[in-house]
C-alpha cells in the first residue's frame, strides 16, 4: 500500500543515518588498525613481509567492495560460519579500508627522505625508535589530508552494505521509497544527509592541507 511521505519518514531516514555513521566508524577503526599494520609491513627491511603486505593491498584494490560484502555475507555460511549483516559488513569494510589506508600511509612514510632514517640510525636509534620518533611524526602530517579524503569515500561507500540487507541510510531509503513511491523526495533527502556528513570532512581536509604548507 502506498502512503504519503511524511515527517516521520524523514526521521526514520535520520535514524538510519546513525547506522551509516556507526558502520563508517567501525570500518575506519578496523581499517585503521589493518592499515597501520600494512603500512609498517611495507617499510620493514624484511622483503617477504613487504611482499605479503603488497599482495594484500593489490588484491583488495583490484577487487570490488561489493564482492567482498557478498563473500562474507553469503560465502561464510557455506563453510558453516553464521554471520549477521553487521559482522559481514564490518569485516568487509575493515579489509577494504585497511588496504587503502595502508597504501596511503605507506606513501606518507615513503615520502620522508631516507636521510632522516639514516640520521636516526647514525645516532644509535633502533628501527622502531627511528619510526616512532622521527618518521611517524613527520608522516602523520603528510597523511592527514588524504586520510580524511578517504574517510569521505568510505562514508559514501557504506551505502553498498544495503545490498546485504544492512539497514543504513540507503537501505532505509529503499524501504521508504517502496512504501511511499516518492523517489525524488526520498533520494534527494538521502543525498542531502550524506552531503551533510561529508561536506564538513572535505572542508576539514582542505583546511588541514592548507595548514600543512605552513606547518613544520
Amino acid at each position: 500500500m502506498i502512503r504519503e511521505f511524511g515527517f516521520i519518514d524523514f526521521m526514520y531516514l535520520l535514524a538510519a543515518a546513525r547506522w551509516t555513521v556507526a558502520l563508517s566508524g567501525v570500518a575506519f577503526l578496523g581499517g585503521g588498525l589493518v592499515g597501520l599494520l600494512v603500512a609498517l609491513m611495507r617499510v620493514t627491511p624484511l622483503a617477504p613481509v613487504r611482499w605479503l603486505a603488497t599482495i594484500y593491498v593489490q588484491a583488495v584494490q583490484g577487487t570490488p567492495l561489493l564482492a567482498w560484502l557478498f563473500l562474507f555475507y553469503f560465502g561464510l555460511p557455506l563453510v558453516g560460519l553464521v554471520v549477521n549483516p553487521w559482522i559481514a559488513a564490518a569485516t568487509a569494510f575493515a579489509i577494504y579500508a585497511g588496504a587503502f589506508l595502508g597504501d596511503i600511509w605507506r606513501g606518507a612514510l615513503a615520502a620522508i627522505p631516507r636521510t632522516q632514517w639514516e640520521a636516526g640510525a647514525s645516532l644509535g636509534l633502533s628501527f622502531l625508535d627511528q619510526l616512532r620518533y622521527i618518521i611517524m611524526p613527520q608522516a602523520v602530517r603528510i597523511a592527514i589530508p588524504p586520510t580524511v579524503g578517504f574517510l569521505v569515500q568510505l562514508i559514501k561507500n557504506t551505502s553498498l552494505a544495503a545490498a546485504i540487507g544492512f539497514v543504513e541510510l540507503t537501505r532505509e531509503a529503499q524501504i521508504t521509497n517502496a512504501s511511499t513511491f516518492r523517489p525524488m523526495t526520498v533520494f534527494v533527502i538521502v543525498a542531502a544527509i550524506y552531503f551533510a556528513m561529508c561536506f564538513p570532512l572535505t572542508q576539514w581536509s582542505r583546511y588541514l592541507e592548507q595548514r600543512l604548507h605552513v606547518a613544520r
Binding site: T115, E118, A119, A121, S122, L123, G124, Y133, R141, R216
Partner: protein
C-alpha cells in the same frame, strides 16, 4: 693502537666498484682530511666506517670491533661514532633542543633535565646556545649544520665523521662551521673529514688522504702532501680546486 683500521676494503654498488682495496688507519686524536674528486669514493668510505653501507670484501675495525661483522651491535657502535652529513639532516619537526636530546633520551635513557643541560653544553660548543628553542627551518644553513654537529657531540663520540659538511653552504657561512671544527680539533677529537676546503685541511689536518677511482692514491702529512704532490692526479686535482 689505532682507533679505526680499514684493511683491503672493497665496496661495490652493483657492478660499479666504489672502494677498491682501501686500507688505512686512524690513530686516536688524529685529524684526517679526505680529499678527491666527486665519485672517488670518499663519502662512501665514511659511510662504511659507521656501517651505513655494507662492504663486499675486506675488514673495518673500530676500537677493536669488526664493523662489517653481522654479529657486531651496530647501534652500540654508532653511539661512539658521530657522523655529520652534507645536508644536515636535522629532524624538521623537532626543536633544536629535541634534535639534540632525542638520542641521549631514547638510547641512553637520560633524564629530561640532564639531557637539557647536555643540549646547552654542546650548543655552547658550537656557539648557538640562544637557539635552543628554535626549529631547524628558522636557522641559516650554517647554523643548522652547527646544530647537527652539536647533536652528534651530545652522544660523546670517540670519533667524528664529517661528510662534506660545508659543501651545501654559501661561502660566507662555511667559516662559522670550520671554526667549530677547529675548536673540536683543539679539544683532541679524532676526526675524519671529507672536504673540499684545501686551506682548512692544510691548517687543521694532521694527515691528508687523496682518493682517486676508489683507491687511496696518495697520503701523507697535510703540509707535505698538499704542497708537494707526488702524483699527477693529485696535482691536477689540487690545481682544479685551488684555481
Amino acid at each position: 693502537m689505532s682507533l679505526v683500521e680499514l684493511s683491503h676494503v672493497v665496496k661495490r654498488f652493483g657492478t660499479n666498484t666504489v672502494l677498491d682495496d682501501v686500507s688505512m688507519t686512524v690513530a686516536p686524536g688524529e685529524i684526517i682530511a679526505v680529499i678527491g674528486r666527486s665519485g672517488s669514493g670518499k663519502s662512501t668510505m665514511l659511510r662504511c666506517i659507521n656501517g651505513l653501507e655494507p662492504i663486499q670484501d675486506g675488514r673495518i675495525l673500530f676500537d677493536g670491533a669488526v664493523v662489517n661483522d653481522p654479529q657486531t651491535d651496530l647501534r652500540a657502535l654508532r653511539q661512539r661514532v658521530g657522523i655529520v652529513f652534507q645536508s644536515y639532516n636535522l629532524f624538521p619537526h623537532l626543536s633544536v633542543e629535541k634534535n639534540i636530546t632525542l638520542a641521549p633520551r631514547v638510547v641512553k635513557n637520560m633524564s629530561e633535565s640532564e639531557a637539557r643541560e647536555l643540549a646547552r653544553e654542546v650548543l655552547r660548543k658550537v656557539g648557538l646556545e640562544e637557539k635552543i628553542g628554535a626549529y631547524p627551518d628558522q636557522l641559516s644553513g650554517g647554523q643548522q649544520q652547527r646544530v647537527a654537529i652539536a647533536r652528534s657531540l651530545a652522544m660523546r663520540p670517540q670519533l667524528m665523521l664529517f661528510d662534506e659538511i660545508t659543501s651545501a653552504l654559501d661561502p660566507e657561512l662555511t667559516g662559522e662551521v670550520l671554526k667549530v671544527l677547529e675548536a673540536m680539533a683543539g679539544d683532541g677529537m679524532t676526526m675524519l673529514l671529507v672536504t673540499h676546503e684545501i686551506g682548512f685541511a692544510k691548517r687543521v689536518a694532521s694527515r691528508v688522504v687523496f682518493m682517486h677511482q676508489g683507491r687511496i692514491w696518495e697520503e701523507g702529512t697535510a703540509a707535505e702532501t698538499l704542497s708537494a704532490p707526488r702524483t699527477q692526479e693529485l696535482e691536477t686535482f689540487l690545481s682544479a680546486v685551488l684555481h
